[in-house]
């Protein structure tokens, strides 16, 4: 291969990478731009704002609806992530480490649920939750979220647990630790990156959900941000809420982008571990 074609190839890949970066970021830049435009400029159809204002951000935080929704989203997503990781880790540990009849059924069942269409159970959940008082409450959303993320949790964590050096556990048990102690003191620290990866994927799922949140909530009590944004009416009836919607969108996007930037490596491993290694 000549050096000339090598140089050409290099330019090709560099150019490709730049296109990908721009492609990935344009909608985000656009919504950021909209959120910063003064109301008078919202319809100027320009990608880059002429001047910048933060009044849309002030407006959404002064409105009662949005801070409520943000709090609900944070609380519900965080708690369901925690529960799904704990229950998922227990199941994954059992599947990787113990021999018991039916563990293949558990794995296959989890896979089937990962493919399950949530819309199929919205009607019964709506009816059941109203009957037992879970409609429009935090647990009413946490339960479906953690159920739908448990497969993700079980598969990702069992992929990680498979790579853990389990002899260390045996060593700890010979030294007199119980199974639980061996797990919490020796194995859990090694498996922590796996738990973080699984947790992150689950958090993104719960943060992203729209269907459950729109069907199983009705007030500020449990309504999450995606639903609040979709139902935004703006701070006054006489102005299109475009600016407020854009500002709210930036606020819900920021934490996820931050998490993605921090945990980039683990996230990629987590996303692919369950699917490919299995």
């Amino acid at each position: 291969m000549t050096s000339e074609s090598n140089a050409l190839e290099r330019i090709f890949w560099i150019f490709g990478s730049l296109i990908v970066i721009v492609y990935a970021l344009i909608p985000v830049a656009w919504i950021l731009s909209l959120s910063l435009k003064p109301p008078a400029d919202l319809n100027d159809r320009r990608f880059i704002p002429n001047s910048i204002t933060f009044e849309h951000y002030r407006a959404i935080f002064q409105d009662l609806q949005f801070p409520h929704a943000l709090w609900n989203s944070l609380g519900i997503a965080f708690l369901s992530t925690l529960l799904a990781v704990v229950l998922g880790a227990m199941a994954a540990y059992a599947i990787v480490r113990l021999d018991f009849p039916g563990k293949r059924v558990v794995l296959a069942g989890a896979l089937a649920i990962a493919m399950f269409p949530p819309i199929s159970i919205i009607g019964p959940l709506f009816e059941m939750w109203r009957a037992i008082g879970l409609f429009d409450t935090w647990p009413g959303l946490m339960l479906p979220y953690m159920t739908f993320t448990l497969p993700l949790s079980i598969w990702t964590l069992s992929a990680f647990f498979r790579d853990v050096p389990w002899d260390l556990e045996k060593a700890a048990r010979i030294d007199g630790a119980t199974r639980l102690q061996a797990f919490t003191h020796v194995i859990a620290p090694i498996a922590a990156p796996g738990a973080v990866a699984a947790g992150l994927l689950i958090f993104i799922f719960a943060w992203n959900d729209f269907l459950f949140a729109i069907s199983l909530t009705s007030t500020n009590k449990a309504r999450t941000v995606p639903v609040a944004i979709a139902f935004f009416t703006g701070s006054s009836r006489f102005e299109l809420p475009t600016g407020s919607i854009a500002a709210a969108s930036v606020v819900v996007t920021a934490p996820i982008i931050l998490l993605v930037l921090i945990f980039q490596r683990w996230l990629v491993t987590g996303l692919t571990a369950g699917a490919i290694k299995g």
């Binding site: 990908v20 970021l25 159809r45 269409p117 069907s215 969108s249 980039q264």
Partner: protein, 288 residues
């Protein structure tokens, strides 16, 4: 049962219980509801009607139109995602330039919530707010016409989910041994031959998994359509029909019939994939 087996079951029980409680039980309940005339606005008229709900869904224009729309959106977006995803995966696999930055950048669409992605694209194509018409010098009311609305919906889906596809395919690419490609190159195989005769066959499991998950996901599309058109202008999908019947019109009987049909559709797709690819989905090495 010995101690180990009992412990195994106890550890799995909470997860299995939660999963059954929120999927298997409600699904059975949905099937049961679908056999009744049950409208929450007229609860006193509740009565067993057998297959009547299914008959009225399956003979209605709305259902078949929505099914056609869903299949169109699914096929269109998954095909484009596969092609773009492959290009992206090869790029991330090969490029030495800003590899980390590229990977981080494509995780952004993955992390963004679908509602926000749908709104960003909606505002971009909006005739009064959007920059797209200004850029293309057009006056197109994109979301008010069926075909252009489909284009925007599919573009949004593709943007949002190609990263997932690309990451799975990239993981598949790393499974292809470099020396095999090197040997083929020495034997004179061209770049294209190497791709189609070595890389692609070895990646078949990864491609199968990525395609299966994306197809099922696209088939239940809801958020993007709801935010961008609310199903107006002939863009209703099956999930939108189910949602409207269940939650907006509170017709649990009819809505449950739609839900059960969607579940059947998803199951058919999954079975088709697993049979078609002879997918090694649950074929795992035995754990010790």
């Amino acid at each position: 049962m010995n101690r180990q087996q009992r412990l195994g079951w106890w550890l799995c029980l909470p997860a299995v219980g939660a999963m059954l409680l929120v999927t298997a039980y409600p699904l059975a309940y949905a099937f049961w509801l679908s056999l009744y005339r049950y409208d929450l606005r007229f609860p006193e008229q509740r009565a067993f009607v057998g297959g009547a709900n299914y008959a009225s869904v399956l003979t209605s224009e709305v259902w078949w139109q929505a099914l056609a729309n869903t299949v169109l959106i699914t096929a269109g977006s998954v095909m484009m995602e596969l092609m773009l995803g492959f290009a992206l995966a090869l790029l991330m696999h090969r490029t030495l330039f800003a590899r980390r930055t590229v990977r981080t950048a494509i995780l952004v669409p993955y992390g963004i919530i679908t509602v926000v992605a749908a709104l960003a694209w909606k505002f971009a194509f909006d005739p009064t707010t959007g920059f797209i018409n200004a850029l293309l010098n057009l006056d197109q009311p994109w979301l008010n016409e069926r075909w252009s609305a489909f284009c925007v919906i599919i573009a949004t889906e593709v943007w949002k989910t190609t990263p997932f596809m690309a990451l799975l395919l990239m993981a598949g690419l790393t499974l292809v041994p470099q020396d095999l490609l090197q040997a083929a190159r020495v034997d004179g195989a061209s770049r294209i031959q190497r791709f189609f005769q070595i890389t692609l066959p070895l990646m078949k499991p990864a491609v199968a998994v990525a395609l299966l998950f994306r197809t099922l996901d696209a088939f239940r599309i809801f958020d993007t359509v709801f935010v961008q058109t609310r199903g107006a202008h002939g863009t209703e999908t099956v999930s939108i029909v189910a949602y409207h019947t269940l939650i907006a019109r509170l017709n649990l009987g009819l809505g449950s019939a739609v839900s059960v049909l969607i579940f059947a559709g998803v199951s058919l797709i999954a079975i088709g994939f697993i049979k078609g690819f002879k997918a090694p989905l649950i074929h795992r090495e035995d754990s010790q």
